[in-house]
């Protein structure tokens, strides 16, 4: 199953994989979501809040 194996190198012999598994196996999807999540929820949201603080009048 997971040990070093001699496998014929065709596409068909791949075991069927679940949707989650496909998601985990796809670096570009993880990359996109892993960058988008903190950029939006932390950085953008936080920056917008700070920018909404009215400046003190001198």
């Amino acid at each position: 199953m997971t040990e070093t194996e001699k496998m014929p190198e065709t596409e068909e012999d791949l075991e069927p994989v679940s949707g989650w598994q496909m998601f985990y196996d796809d670096p570009s999807m993880l990359l996109f979501l892993g960058i988008a999540s903190p950029t939006i929820l932390y950085t953008l949201w936080g920056v917008i809040e700070v920018l909404h603080v009215p400046l003190a009048g001198y």
């Binding site: 997971t2 670096p27 990359l31 892993g34």
Partner: protein
């Protein structure tokens, strides 16, 4: 599940370790060596500076004058938390993205370019700090301003550190194309993929904040808004720590495999824990801003409580599956007596194991529990900017990450150099001394913080302050014990440095047996590194690990509520 092709593609580009059966891409071996060598020099520099700081905050010694205290403090933070940790990380990331899947590193030349960028950046920044031109401490909050070359050094370092993240992605693509593996990648490689993705976010945030600050230091921008700086700076600085955590947990899984032939109890669950990190850990950045003005309660609480607790769940999963894997492997070997025979009979005198397991325990119990607790909006008020904060993060970055790196060095350096570990006696002591010393620093430092002792303060007698204030004799005593712990921990680091530098520079080269015989025969180590889950099992096979985790959880809950009780007593509500 990962299937690693039995026939090695391009065998001329690999050496096979006779002790472990692992195939190491030749350029990767050199990159690992140079990165660890450089990182250890940074730890040496940072450790000496840290000793200066500790000997100043030890009330009876109070070694350095104030200007030098802040120079040392700034230098210490940069040298250890940026340079030591990240240069080391990059080196071993190259290992994790290649060896477990028998891959060749994409474009080693660019890896060397990244190395030189990091080195030159680190050198420039360090020189500026030591010249007294950049006494801004780790966070470099404006309006504190450093010499432009300091920011330039940090920017060069950040660019250098960003490149390896792309090399990790490129290597995975290349390995897929060369078909060195099929299906899912092994867990350790997956860990490094997560590390790389967090790294991209981290260092890009670094550029977003450091480039304007650099321009400001040259007078090209009139003003940097301090609050905006703080928000974006912590996207950088918090996330760098999350990169460390991901990597040291990857190390834990690896060492469990190497030392015991252990596999994760369930690889998919462990993978999910890493993905929880990917989405939720960075959001915890808000915990640095809980006592700041300017942002809403919603933003703070969503990120530090709801989101970050998903990451805590990830940590709890790793905290169960790492020792659980070891327990299962040990029990199958016949160590089935009681709850903890598997742990008692573990190779405690092997620094690879002692460093690894101490890092697991200390990170969880000290760094983890204090971190989760202080990230609560209300509780944060009781410890914000006190000595509790550095105490907490030495529990994570020193006794967690650094100790894991120390343990891992004792394995990977002989592996990539074929040199026998030099001064094994010092190595054996180093993990205990570093762990217990820094653990003492962390625990007593947290107590000092509860008494209100501030962090980053040169003189807690306030000798020249307009308004006098006296800390109790108890507070001074606790600070003394904490700093004695720090000094002891420094010796542990020194022993490690001596042993690893001597190995790298002059250890005895052996064809076979550079790595001491461990629990597992060569082939099995390689097989385990390639990943997989323990075969299906039924019932409770890891009662000891479960008890350990439950103790942690109960401890966390009790401690958390005790902090609320404490908050109620210092903040009288009438």
């Amino acid at each position: 599940m990962a299937t690693i092709m039995a026939t090695l593609r391009n065998p001329q580009d690999f050496t096979t370790c006779p002790d472990t059966g692992l195939n190491i891409n030749k350029p990767v071996a050199n990159l690992v060596k140079i990165h660890i060598l450089t990182a250890v020099m940074m730890l040496l520099a940072g450790g000496i500076l840290g000793l200066g700081v500790a000997l100043t905050r030890w009330p009876a010694v109070h070694l350095l004058p104030s200007e030098w205290f802040y120079i040392f403090l700034t230098g210490h933070g940069a040298a250890v938390l940026l340079f030591w940790v990240h240069i080391f990380s990059v080196g071993i990331a190259y290992f994790f993205v290649t060896t477990p899947i028998n891959a060749r590193l994409a474009t080693p030349k660019i890896a060397w370019l990244s190395y030189w960028l990091m080195l030159i950046g680190a050198a420039i920044a360090t020189v500026m700090v030591l010249l007294g031109q950049a006494t801004v401490m780790f966070s470099a909050y404006p309006p504190l301003k450093a010499h432009p070359l300091f920011y330039l050094g940090v920017i060069l370092f950040a660019v250098g550190a960003l490149v390896p993240a792309f090399l990790v992605l490129a290597t995975l693509v290349k390995a897929k194309n060369e078909r060195t593996f099929k299906g899912s990648m092994p867990l350790t490689t997956f860990g490094v993929l997560i590390w790389a993705i967090i790294a991209i976010f981290t260092w890009v945030m670094g550029a977003v904040i450091m480039i304007p600050t650099w321009l400001w230091s040259m007078g090209l921008i009139a003003n940097i808004d301090p609050q905006l700086y703080r928000v974006i700076f912590w996207a950088l600085a918090h996330s760098t720590q999350q990169m460390n955590i991901v990597l040291h947990i990857t190390i834990w899984y690896t060492l469990a495999a190497v030392l015991f032939g252990a596999r994760p109890l369930n690889e998919k669950v462990s993978r999910t824990a890493f993905v929880l990190y990917l989405f939720a850990l960075q959001l915890g950045s808000v915990h640095h801003l809980l006592s700041d003005p300017g942002t809403s309660f919603t933003w703070r609480t969503f990120n530090t409580s709801y989101a970050a607790y998903l990451a805590v769940l990830g940590s709890l999963i790793h905290g169960l599956t790492v020792p659980g894997g070891i327990e299962l492997a040990q029990r199958r070997r016949g160590l089935t007596h009681g709850l903890f025979e598997w742990l008692r009979k573990a190779p405690w005198d092997n620094p690879i194991f002692s460093g690894f397991f101490l890092s697991l325990i200390l990170f969880g119990f000290i760094g983890g529990i204090s971190g989760v607790t202080m990230s609560n909006q209300q509780i944060n008020m009781t410890v914000h900017n006190t000595f509790y904060v550095p105490a907490h993060f030495h529990g994570t970055v020193a006794t967690g990450t650094t100790l894991a790196f120390i343990a891992f060095s004792y394995w990977i350096v002989p592996l990539v150099t074929r040199r026998k570990l030099a001064y094994p006696g010092l190595a054996k002591m180093s993990t205990w001394i570093f762990g217990l010393g820094m653990g003492t620093f962390a625990l007593f430092g947290m107590a000092a913080g509860h008494l209100g002792v501030p962090r980053r303060h040169w003189d807690i007698t306030y000798a020249d302050a307009a308004l006098p204030f006296d800390f109790s004799a108890m507070a001074h005593m606790i600070m003394t014990v904490a700093e004695i712990g720090a000094v002891i921990g420094g010796f542990g680091a020194l022993f490690y440095i001596i042993s690893i530098l001597s190995t790298l520079l002059g250890g005895k080269v052996l064809a076979k047996g550079a790595l001491p015989a461990l629990a597992e025969p060569a082939g099995l180590v390689a097989a385990r590194m390639h990943g997989g889950t323990e075969p299906q099992h039924k019932g409770l096979e890891v009662p000891g690990s479960l008890v350990l985790c439950m103790v942690l959880l109960v401890f966390l809950i009790v401690y958390y509520f005790a902090q609320y009780k404490y908050l109620a007593t210092i903040w009288g509500i009438s």
